[in-house]
């Protein structure tokens, strides 16, 4: 089957890609700027196309707990929201991580804190990559920088989620969610019929009962479980790092940016190079695991790194850790829903040389 070319919003692309990836369920609650995901799914009648369940929940809290229930049945389930709604989901996400359940959570980030703005932002980086809810856990975090990637990462997210029995977050932003671009959609996949052995499906006489829980009253046993999680996260760190490089071969100055900021930086690099400044970009595609080793290598080659983010400076801390003092690291950011102009990023670079 051929791929299909469409002009779509990022939010619509996520929804259509979910149907085509053979997702079993979506549970959501409206919030700007991601309501199109639920709207699209309701209109596209996935129940008729593939049997996928789509439900508008009474709150983000209910939606994430529906995801918990569905994931524990071994199903491919997901939710989407934007920053304030993702904060509400954190309890459920922690339980999902603690019960080692696979699922996809899409965050179309807007400016904060609080109700903030509805414009694009990257201020949920800490929340997404450092845990977010309570307890020692990590999500696998994918950062799309185009509508195409919002579609492609749905399938990738489910693959990783089931491979590691771990929740995956797609950390997008209002710009990528709301804009339309060309997108090549994969052909329809069948919904999976395999039932993982850890899933609750009703207990046949041939096996022990399955208990999905994150509770352990014995601290020694809980510590053993924490160690098991650490081992899993280390395996993910080793095997699942993804990033993209632009003009890094001869770069003397390196931008580090993801999502919308990474696109801004591509233009900034053009502007800088036109003025004889050799700039390059490393775009992390996975924010957890973070491309630590590659950044550490690049720190031996470049003179300076600048973390460009639509935030007050969050990822910059990881860039500093990765470069480990080898080169100066700066942060350039806009906040509150402002997107940096390529010119201002180039000017900032020039001011630091």
């Amino acid at each position: 089957m051929e791929k299909e070319l469409r002009l779509m919003k990022g939010n619509e692309a996520v929804a259509e890609a979910a149907i085509r990836a053979g997702a079993d369920g979506y549970f959501g609650y409206p919030i700007t700027p991601q309501s199109e995901v639920l709207e699209y799914l309701m209109e596209a009648k996935p129940h008729e196309r593939t049997g996928m369940v789509v439900l508008q929940a009474e709150s983000e809290v209910a939606a994430i707990n529906m995801v918990y229930g569905g994931a524990a049945c071994g199903k491919r389930v997901m939710t989407s929201s934007s920053s304030p709604g993702i904060s509400l989901k954190q309890e459920g996400i922690s339980y999902i991580a603690g019960a080692e359940l696979p699922c996809l959570v899409v965050n179309v980030v807007r400016g904060g804190p609080g109700l903030g703005t509805i414009q694009p932002s990257q201020s949920d980086y800490f929340q997404a990559t450092k845990g977010g809810g309570h307890g020692d856990y990590h999500l696998i975090v994918l950062a799309p920088s185009s509508v195409q990637e919002m579609a492609d990462f749905v399938d990738l997210a489910f693959e990783l989620a089931f491979k590691y029995r771990n929740p995956v977050m797609m950390l997008s932003d209002g710009a990528i969610g709301q804009m339309m671009e060309k997108v090549w959609l994969s052909p329809q996949k069948e919904r999976s019929k395999t039932v993982p052995e850890w899933a609750t499906t009703g207990k046949p006489p041939t096996r022990e009962r399955v208990i999905i829980t994150s509770l352990d009253l014995d601290p020694m046993a809980q510590e053993r479980f924490n160690q098991k999680l650490i081992a899993k996260y280390n395996e993910i760190r080793e095997k699942e790092v993804r990033y993209e490089e632009f003009q890094c071969e001869d770069a003397e100055y390196l931008f580090v940016a993801y999502g919308t900021s990474a696109r801004v930086c591509q233009k900034s690099i053009q502007l800088a190079r036109a003025q004889g400044i050799k700039a390059g970009l490393l775009r992390p595609v996975t924010l957890f695991p973070f491309p630590v080793n590659r950044l550490n290598e690049l720190a031996d080659k470049v003179k300076m790194m600048i973390s460009v983010e639509m935030s007050a400076g969050q990822m910059v801390e990881d860039v500093m850790l990765a470069s480990n003092g080898k080169v100066p690291v700066y942060h350039y950011g806009r906040m509150g829903g402002m997107v940096p102009e390529p010119e201002e990023v180039t000017d900032f670079l020039k001011s630091k040389i």
Binding site: G174, T260, Q270
Partner: protein
């Protein structure tokens, strides 16, 4: 070639859909496109605007503050965005209801009285197609053939009977646009 366009006006002027048809037509021509609307409460009844970028290269930032072409369809948009057009760029505006006309000397300014023309055609809904026709005349990037394809794609089947009047509107736009 990269063309960065801002379209702004009242919600009811078909600003977003004009941008969508532009983007769709360019995509049909194998170009890269992005369509970035302003969104949120300001959409409700107030002004709407959309940034459309058409390019034969991968598009970097979809949100920019300086444009090759500004299509500014009410006074509010004109006041807000006249200065956002790059020197040497193009401004298209509708004279309807405008009491402070554009003043820049370093750009080309075109006027298209689309609202008036749509009134004459007795179909106010084609306002945006008249403007689009005008744009196609001065910036021949997208072809009429692809715009019609785009219309077919974006209009539900039951409105396909409206395609001929839209085509007429596009042609009228090409005829009535004039440089100031």
């Amino acid at each position: 070639m990269t063309e960065e366009i801002l379209i702004a006006g009242f919600g009811g002027q078909g600003v977003l859909s004009m941008g969508k048809i532009m983007a769709y037509s360019a995509m049909m021509q194998d170009m890269e496109v992005s369509w970035m609307p302003s969104y949120g409460p300001e959409m409700r009844g107030g002004t709407a605007n959309v940034i459309v970028i058409i390019s034969d290269e991968r598009i970097s930032s979809p949100i920019i503050r300086h444009f090759d072409t500004g299509i500014l369809l009410n006074q509010q948009s004109l006041d807000k965005f006249e200065d956002s057009i790059k020197p040497g760029g193009v401004l298209v505006y509708d004279g309807n209801g405008i009491n402070r006309h554009p003043v820049r000397k370093d750009i080309s300014i075109f006027r298209i009285d689309a609202a008036e023309e749509a009134g004459r055609m007795k179909s106010p809904k084609v306002n945006n197609m008249i403007v689009l026709g005008g744009f196609m005349k001065i910036k021949p990037i997208i072809t009429l053939e692809n715009v019609i394809k785009g219309l077919k794609k974006s209009l539900p089947e039951r409105y396909h009977n409206l395609i001929p009047v839209n085509e007429t509107a596009l042609q009228r736009g090409m005829e009535i646009i004039r440089e100031v």
